[in-house]
Symmetry: C2
């Protein structure tokens, strides 16, 4: 028998982990190694619930090595990739060099401030658990500081929340802020009335939820407005600092600005020496390989895949990454068995976004619905896809409890510098 083929997978998100599991199950003849900067797989679709004090970090994350524990041909390692040499077939990490027979790149995306990186301290994004607990800290701290503030102008600034970006994440954040202020916190304060909280959702495009049908976007906007969210479309942010957000001549005074506007792919892409799209994503071949490098696959948010119907790039969604991960694995297995590779086709199961309690929108091809049924669909799908039986039970209990009590389960102000906003200087 030949030497086992070394498959190196970079990134343990939805794409990388799906590829690793499919390959590990296939078993013989493979030596699988999955590298990630983190020791856990993160269920990103529920990250906004950590940011909004509904769930704890441990409930939406599961260690990569635990997921792969039973597959003895798969190895998980904590590490960061510094460079990929497609010619030599090597990967440089922070601790050693890897040689590979097959490489699966699934490094995902991070936040993009469209060239305004100086906004980041004042408007954190939502891609990591640290960012989520940082957003949670700022939101809860704003209410705490407002309760002890005597100046009405400063109180108003503390009780103004701005969410930049009208995609699903922005909707979910703004809707949750509406619910927190109107329900979860409403009885807990003595001086301020959290129901007076101002929440502004800013979208540069002509409408929110641009990837959804216009009717659902309208419904979502109405739902948001019922929760007290003011939706501003067609408005472009021109500045963010410690005091708030600037939009051309206008200025919104706010201590808490959240960024849900743009993403960019891993910075590894630029150094690969292959063709990228306008966003910096690697343009994938129909079989998901990197053109000219059939042994290298590129999947998920790191890739641009346009070979589907209509030629439009696939969106940056978990189902796309998972299906691509499994497909890349299948193509590797096809090579080893001497079969031919299949082109990837995305089976669109639809997309959804939740606005709040009993409010969501679901779009599955021509089928579109909103309201309570959409909300239940959202709940079931998210519990179902969550990895780990215990996590499912814990999240289910947190949600059931929040539904009954109108409260949130993780209202903790933690992290270093927990008592100040970035502008105020650190007071540990």
């Amino acid at each position: 028998m030949a030497n086992p083929k070394r498959v190196l997978i970079v990134g343990a998100g939805f794409g990388g982990l799906a590829a690793a599991r499919r390959l590990a199950r296939a078993g013989a003849g493979l030596e699988i190694c999955i590298l990630d900067r983190r020791n856990y797989h993160l269920f990103q679709p529920l990250l906004y619930q950590v940011a909004m004090a509904g769930l704890s970090p441990g409930e939406i994350a599961v260690p990569v090595r635990t997921v792969l524990s039973k597959y003895k041909n798969a190895r998980a390692l904590l590490g960061e990739v510094n460079a990929v040499d497609l010619g030599k077939k090597t990967v440089q990490t922070d601790f050693q060099e890897f040689e590979y027979d097959y490489l699966v790149l699934a490094c995902g995306a991070q936040h993009s401030y469209f060239g305004h990186e100086e906004w980041e301290p004042f408007a954190p994004g939502l891609k990591t658990l640290e960012q989520a607990t940082e957003v949670r800290r700022r939101v809860l701290l704003a209410f705490e500081l407002a309760e002890r503030e005597t100046d009405p102008v400063k109180t108003r600034q503390l009780l103004t929340f701005v969410v930049v970006g009208g995609g699903p994440t922005g909707i979910e954040l703004a809707g949750s802020l509406g619910e927190i202020s109107r329900f979860a916190l409403s009885r807990d304060f003595r001086k301020i009335d959290p129901r007076q909280t101002r929440i502004i959702l800013i979208e540069a495009g002509p409408r929110i939820l641009a990837t959804f049908d216009a009717s659902l976007a309208q419904r979502a906007q109405r739902d948001l407005e019922e929760l007290g969210v003011t939706v501003w479309t067609g408005m472009r942010v021109s500045g963010i600092d410690a005091s708030g957000v600037r939009l051309g001549n206008e200025k919104v005074e706010s201590k808490t600005v959240l960024w849900a506007a743009g993403v960019k792919p891993s910075k590894l892409n630029a150094a690969l020496g292959v063709e990228l799209d306008g966003m910096g994503r690697v343009i994938a071949a129909p079989d998901l390989s990197v053109p000219g490098h059939p042994e290298v696959f590129i999947i998920g948010d790191q890739a641009c895949f346009t070979h589907g119907p209509g030629g439009r790039p696939l969106p940056g969604l978990a189902p796309v990454a998972m299906q691509q991960g499994r497909h890349a694995a299948d193509n590797i297995l096809a090579d080893l068995r001497g079969g031919g590779r299949a082109p990837f086709t995305y089976a669109d199961k639809g997309s959804m976004a939740t606005i709040g309690r009993r409010r969501a929108v679901v779009e599955m091809g021509k089928i579109r619905f909103a309201g309570v049924l959409a909300w239940y669909t959202w709940l079931v799908v998210h519990i179902f896809y969550l990895i780990g039986f215990r996590n499912r039970v814990l999240v289910f209990i947190q949600w059931a409890w929040a539904y009954i009590s109108f409260r949130r389960g993780a209202q903790l102000i933690t992290n270093p510098g927990w008592r100040s906003f970035p502008s105020d200087g650190q007071q540990p």
Copy 2:
């Protein structure tokens, strides 16, 4: 009717919160304000389980204002006390000055390195949630780095854990490390065998669990040794740095040192201008007031109370703080009703410590037992005293799942600087 009496409570630990609830329930004629640096009450007896990846922070903490939500005469504020003027009856905070008619000081304790504050970066203590997730980060990171390490000397250093201090916290940490390495992680690694992990518990005194009966301490030591923990008694740490622990001429090479050795009271005490004991705690009068200041009460770890049988100071335990908090509240209420104050007497319900799965020790007066029954007692008592119905359910599920699966529920390496030890420099 007279003006309501202003009661200011500093600290929302077991003592302060017990006082606030007792006073709030009494209702009329009182204006209660509770100040804390944090927005949550922390269930400290289970903090070691957060450090050992068994529980999430949100499961052992509950927002102070949520606990007091239904009492309209009680107000919770986030803030830090800078100074107390017992003469003027004022308290200076980071945001305003408070005047009080009654003051309850319940600021607790923090870690003490016996004058070696330079050890702290290399040997974190366990008093806050940030410290707990920091300990969790270091412990899990040590295993991850060992898995990818090729140098056997460095691997051994990474797989050596030192716990300083043989009290209940030290026992619980060392026992949990034994369980994690032998059970929770045993199947997840490919290169290292976590069962080879070296765990050393260092105690300066002649035996561990000095406050327990010698027979229970012996039993606990045997239990620890069965879990692979080496217990060194009568050994004094003379140095801690990035490479390990020095004990006189000996040196233990270890990347992960945990500090569970000493505490000191709030630094407010020194500025009060009243009599302190050798540890810096305020010596309380029999009615829990500060001698010479009948309107000021001092409770919990911040106080030294010696008026019980035998004249020995009461230990720094949650039941002491809770009973004192309720008693201080009762004495304030007695004043208002024109009754006489009662001296405080501690109703000793016993003490307990857990070593691991089905292993614990319990001492209630003359009744002492260990093993499975003690462990169940420990579980029931800790679930019972945990505040919040949801927290009880979540912790119960985490424990039941851990018991069945031999796994842990929160194995996340998070926090800034998550990929390095203090000595290695920050690699964000």
